[in-house]
Amino acid sequence: MAFTLMFHIILVPIGVALPTIMLIANYKGLRRDDGVALTLARRWSHAAGLTFAVGAVSGTVLSFEMGLLWPGLTGTYGDVFGLPFAIEGIAFFCEAILVAIYIYGWRRLRPWTHFWLGVPIPFVALAGAFSIISANSWMNTPAGFTIGPDGTPTDVDPIDAILNDALPYELSHFVLAAYMAAGFTVASVYVVGWLRGRRDRYHRLGILIPLTVAAIATPLQFIVGDTIARWVANNQPAKFSAMEVVTQTGPDQPEIIFGRYDPESNTVAGGIRIPGLNSFLTGGSRDTVVPGLDAVPPENRPSNVNIVHWAFDVMVGVATLLVLLVVWFALVYWRRRDIPRSRLWLWVAAASGVLTYVAIEAGWIVTEVGRQPWIVYNLTRTEEAVTNADGVWTSFTIVVLLYLVLGAGTIVTLRAMSRRWRRQGVEDTTAPYGPRPLAEVES
């Protein structure tokens, strides 16, 4: 399951955020009568369509796995937290239809009709993200029920469960991450072309449009991320202690970068320590008391503190680098209306797509591994929810192999598409909206 999710989480940001970027290019193309922008929008829609199709497959497998792997979760709490998945079902259905119309409508629909048919896509994508994140945040802050005398949930209120406490934090964090990932990933593809000397208007626009989206999302993400960290410190202290490897509760906590945690003795060896910074970041002063792992009974401590902590540091590190990248970009663009010329900037920008994904996977590890040993926070342990069926490891191996093939296939196909596009050049023989000339449409 974890593996399928890690795969799925690569596709989701593209499905959520790429349609917006593609519609911006589409709008620009129609407004300014800009063929290059239209070509970009058209190509991005095909990339989005492909990832969307693969995402549909891995999403279906995920809904199987909810039962195949976690009967203890769906069996006990299905009626509490199942509703958001049902909402996602609708959102996904709408998105599938709209994406199909958009992709297959390039040739013959009227230009603005086509554009407006695409406009709902980002909104249904957001509705889908809302519901799935709601289900996940429910696992962190379970709500909408009370545990009855026999240990099963009673007084169920699925709406309270959907609108649980962690939802606004997780949702804003995720949506911004999606826009960053899609923006940086698309831009980095064209930065690579730029570095190889293809410095035409096509590549310039291909960098500027998505990078601007990412540049807006990144600083916002920094603020949201900081807010969330403090929220976690107050609401899921065990997870926070693991993220920052705080061993003893108390004031004046150092910020430890990397290092090695020893669960036996509850101590940290190595790493870079910045005195007092952790307390300062958590509460604004060095006197702030930060919760430590000593406050949690050993059997309830996150099972793998090192993974959580390292993942957290990687995520924050990447985010810091990306903030520097977009600040540099913003300054240069403000002064010269151009992409920075520095090789260093271009190299980092070329890597930014991969880096965002590293950060997303790391962030996912922080929230999921950091919640262990609980699957539903403070209520159900993961081992209580897992299936008793044999052969889980066999099927896990098959799933991993299959997804490696699927992932490789997706990349090969995307690359084949890109090579074909490069051969075709920017001015296409099959112009969009071709068979009906614009003049006829206007009259």
């Binding site: 693969v54 195949l68 299905g78 049902a86 609708i90 996904f92 239809i97 013959r108 889980v392 075709q424």
Partner: protein, 340 residues
């Protein structure tokens, strides 16, 4: 009728819709698999490709709806099913990945050799998934799924003559429906020889399906007499309706009709699905767990019903838009990515 009964009806509706659309997609995959060598099978494969590509994702969603409604409405039943039938349902998921990914990727795989290879993978998934889903259904009907986390036998629950026959029946039903749809599709695209090609296959699949249905009934009588009595008792009318519709489809097909063929075939398949549902009512897991016992909180059931209404209100207009645009010829392969 309680809200939980309503949700059970929604569940059976989702099964029906999946049988009409998703199962038929798998059937099309089956015909793709047996279409013969690269040259000989080119034309039917092309028709299958253009017919299924725009709709397969949407058709898939019914299955996802089915799973979600099941675990939200009847969590205990879902957990019992998924853990006891771990093997066939995992294999069904495997088939979905094979089929879906090859469909997603085949369109853009440039070289024809690679395309052919991907098509073979697609075919394997197209048989695996309906068979396993059918076998799982057979296990439920035969009362082999007890309540609890992996409480039933992981192998014999579904690996037995009755469940196996139901699995084969599911494959045949998919193949039958898709052949019928493809006859109409061939006509719409003006390819008379393909019309004949799929007409023969529709008749063959229908005949095989009829035989398998009889075998399944005989097997059911042997393994689960109580359920057999219910099927031939209170579901008798539906069974008769199904057989009549199947017969009508065969007659229409042999006489060369196209109009009404799809509708009659779909009615027959729906009658089959509902004969199962009616026979099993009010049990979720026959003779062990009723709808009332397996239902989650009542408020959730009511929300699920509201959800079902919202789903219809939002999805149907969009489907109509898609359908209208498609029929007006406003939608077409972009050409632009696949021309290389």
């Amino acid at each position: 009728m309680t809200a939980a009964d309503g949700v059970a009806v929604v569940l059976v509706l989702a099964v029906t819709l999946f049988a009409w659309s998703g199962l038929a997609d798998y059937g099309a995959g089956f015909w793709d698999l047996v279409a013969g060598g690269r040259e000989r099978g080119r034309r039917p494969r092309e028709l299958i490709d253009v017919a299924v590509t725009p709709v397969w994702e949407a058709n898939h969603v019914w299955l996802v709806f089915l799973l979600i409604v099941c675990w939200t409405g009847f969590g205990i039943a879902f957990a019992s099913l998924m853990s006891t039938l771990f093997i066939p349902l995992s294999l069904a998921a495997l088939g979905i990945v094979l089929r879906g990914s090859s469909f997603a990727l085949r369109k853009d795989a440039a070289r024809e050799g690679r395309r052919h290879l991907v098509g073979l993978l697609f075919g394997a998934g197209a048989v695996l998934t309906p068979f396993c889903l059918g076998a799982a259904l057979g296990a439920v009907m035969a009362g082999r799924v007890p309540v609890g986390n992996a409480a039933g036998n992981a192998l014999t629950s579904w690996f037995n003559p009755f469940a196996g026959t139901v699995g084969c029946l599911a494959v045949a039903v998919g193949a039958f429906l898709s052949a019928v749809y493809l006859v109409a599709e061939a006509r719409r695209r003006g390819t008379p020889e393909l019309q004949g090609y799929f007409r023969v296959r529709a008749v063959a699949a229908g005949a095989v399906g009829l035989v398998l249905g009889v075998v399944a009934l005989v097997a059911l009588r042997a393994v689960q007499r109580q359920m057999f009595d219910r099927v031939v008792g209170r579901s008798a009318i539906l069974i008769v309706l199904g057989v009549v519709a199947l017969g009508a489809t065969l007659v229409l097909a042999l006489r060369g009709a196209v109009h009404g063929l799809r509708v009659v075939a779909a009615v027959g398949v729906a009658a089959l699905v509902w004969s199962w549902a009616v026979a099993q009512y009010p049990y979720l897991l026959p003779f062990r767990l009723t709808i009332a016992e397996g239902a989650g909180a009542a408020v959730t059931q009511r929300w699920l019903l509201a959800w079902a209404v919202v789903a219809m209100v939002t999805v149907l207009p969009l489907l109509i838009v898609l359908y209208v645009l498609d029929q007006r010829g406003d939608l077409g392969e972009d050409g632009f990515t696949h021309s290389g």
